[in-house]
């Protein structure tokens, strides 16, 4: 409630600032070129409304069409299509805003200076976070810290980027929740991107065994589990790394599925294959009670 009151107060201040800046300037203007605001006619108003509606429809169509098309085409082209969405939406916005500015403002050098001053005051008071998000979104487009179709972790949230708006991005988590995250987190938060515009993303699968287990056998089974899984991208490296703990040995299989979207079903498939082979060889699992003595505090459950 307090923040809403504060926001209303800010908007009021903004309007006063706008009036104080624009109206006297307009009143002093002698010629049409000196006025900031151009003449507003009925035709211009209708044109503006039509332009806004067309832009809205265009953005809606782009989102729907690219969303549909990217799921219909082969995987190889899916990300290419998805990544084009922010650029296409940006183009529509730029064209529309340019048209509206041209229709309603006299963009001379002096007017532009006056207008930017006004906007700076307005944005500084009321839309700071909004503009910060927009600028972060544009920066991210070129930095490519995340793109539509990427699998990213921002803060506590992990999922696939499915939407890239003016102010925010949308993530769909493995639990099928859609999370909206403002772009301006880019300034302060670290962003972990699993696939960075590629189809494949590394999947790490951990298994744990007692110290007495033959490591050659475990490593061989893990390699074979990865080679035999139909999801594995065999063109990319497959590696098994080990780590010693007081309670046992941790083996981590690092490999890539052909499609990052398959990461959970892929990990399940790897574990199913490996566990069948482990059971066949009757390998001993670690002793959980020793985890209590581990100074690092990590247990098999935590990895």
């Amino acid at each position: 409630m307090a923040s809403a009151t504060l926001r209303r107060r800010r908007v009021r201040v903004l309007l006063v600032a706008l009036a104080a800046t624009i109206l006297p300037a307009a009143a002093r203007a002698e010629t049409a070129t000196q006025r900031i605001l151009a003449d507003v006619t009925l035709m211009k108003s209708i044109g503006a409304v039509v332009a806004v509606l067309l832009a809205y429809a265009g953005i809606f169509l782009i989102e729907r069409l690219t969303g549909w098309l990217s799921e219909k085409v082969a995987r190889r082209y899916r990300l290419l299509i998805k990544q084009s969405v922010p650029f296409l939406k940006g183009m529509i916005l730029i064209v529309t805003v340019s048209y509206l500015l041209d229709q309603f403002l006299n963009l001379t050098q002096n007017n532009l200076l006056a207008l930017t001053g006004t906007l700076a005051v307005a944005l500084g008071f009321a839309f700071k976070d909004y503009v910060s998000s927009i600028i972060a979104g544009v920066v991210s487009l070129f930095e490519a810290s995340y793109r539509v179709g990427d699998r990213v972790r921002i803060g506590d949230h992990y999922g696939e980027v499915v939407g890239y708006g003016l102010r925010s991005l949308q993530l769909v988590t493995p639990d099928d929740n859609t999370i909206t995250i403002p772009h301006n987190l880019l300034w302060t938060d670290s962003i972990s991107n699993a696939n960075s515009g590629k189809l494949e993303a590394q999947v790490a699968t951990d298994v744990y065994f007692d110290h007495t287990v033959d490591p050659d056998l475990v490593v061989d089974i893990l390699y074979q589990a990865a080679y035999s899984s139909q999801y594995t991208q065999l063109r990319l490296p497959i590696v098994v790394v080990m780590e010693e703990h007081l309670w046992g040995t941790q083996y981590r299989l690092r490999c890539y599925p052909m499609d990052a979207r398959d990461e959970f079903v892929y990990r399940t498939d790897l574990l199913m294959r490996a566990k069948r082979a482990f059971a066949h060889h009757d390998l001993s699992y670690p002793r959980p009670q020793l985890a209590l003595l581990d100074p690092a505090g990590s247990s098999p459950a935590e990895g």
Partner: protein, 374 residues
Amino acid sequence: MAVPLLHSLHAGLDSWFTRKTSQLADDPLEPLPRERALALGRRIEALDGPAPLQAFVREALGEAIEAWRADPEAANVLVVLGRPVEPITPVIEAVLAEREGPSSGFHTLLPCHRRPADPENTPRMLTAALEGRGASGAAEGEASLLSLPNLDQCFLRCIDGWSGIERLRRVILERRDSFWLLGCSSWAWKFLDHVSQISSYFPAARFLPSLEGSELREWLAPVAEGLELKPETAAVPGGPETAEDAAADRWSQLAELAAGSSRIAAELWLGSLRLAPADDEGGLRQVKPVLPDLPSLTDEDRYLLHSLLIHSTMRRDHLAFGLGLPSHRLQPRIHWLLGEGVIEETAGELAVRPSHYPCLVKELANNNFFTWEA
């Protein structure tokens, strides 16, 4: 990435346009009745392998054996690769049959053409065959030339599924006094290369050559001659001048569409045969061959088809075992693919229909699967 997309789009549009044009042209010709097509298919099955393929294997084998006999350090193995829809075994067997005699001494190590019923026995099958001949390879007085024409039937994509192949690799490298002739599908070879770097040990694998239109015509001649095929239409301005030129064009188109594969060409050729109406002289006509459309595939279908192409032919339970899925989860997709004609089942063995192979390769490559061709 945009260039392959455009190429793919162009090829797709071209193929679609050809099909739609023939559909819209109110074609008076009718497809062959199913019984007649099946009878022709059986006659093609009974044909010997194309002579140019046999000649290629014969020549390559002769050269390799000569080199091995002349230089003990030369490779003691010849690997012949072919597409998974193209059986290599008959070609190799025909070549070996020609060499039969007391001096040739070729012995087929594993005459089995199919994997054993229990999928877990697949790797043991080859290991047992190798161990049956003793750790020292050929027994005294036995032939020192060994063939294994169907390597793709000796492994399964599962844990421990290619241990027999690794054992074979070790035996071949250790026993340099024996010469080995191996036949394998190119997809299986590529898979084995990924999982056990087999081509590092045997780099000189030879791929069966692509057949020209005239060679395909010659191969299918025993079947085509009895059909009294008539030219499809009269000569068009700017087109081939004579009926013979038009027929040569058709065979060249067929060879191009089939990428020189005899089995793909045979299916496309059967599909291009049309029955003329009785009031228009009757008889059979050969029209322009076209590749059949692939139905819209799901990810699950692609994994299934990719596995089938790696193993060439598979029983249903082997397929499920390799994919790590319970058989009942695969059955609906197998039935759907059978119904759509993408795969076929012969004597309990599933395989990709040869005519769908060219489109399927593109489909899988575009979906980030490894293929031999792309």
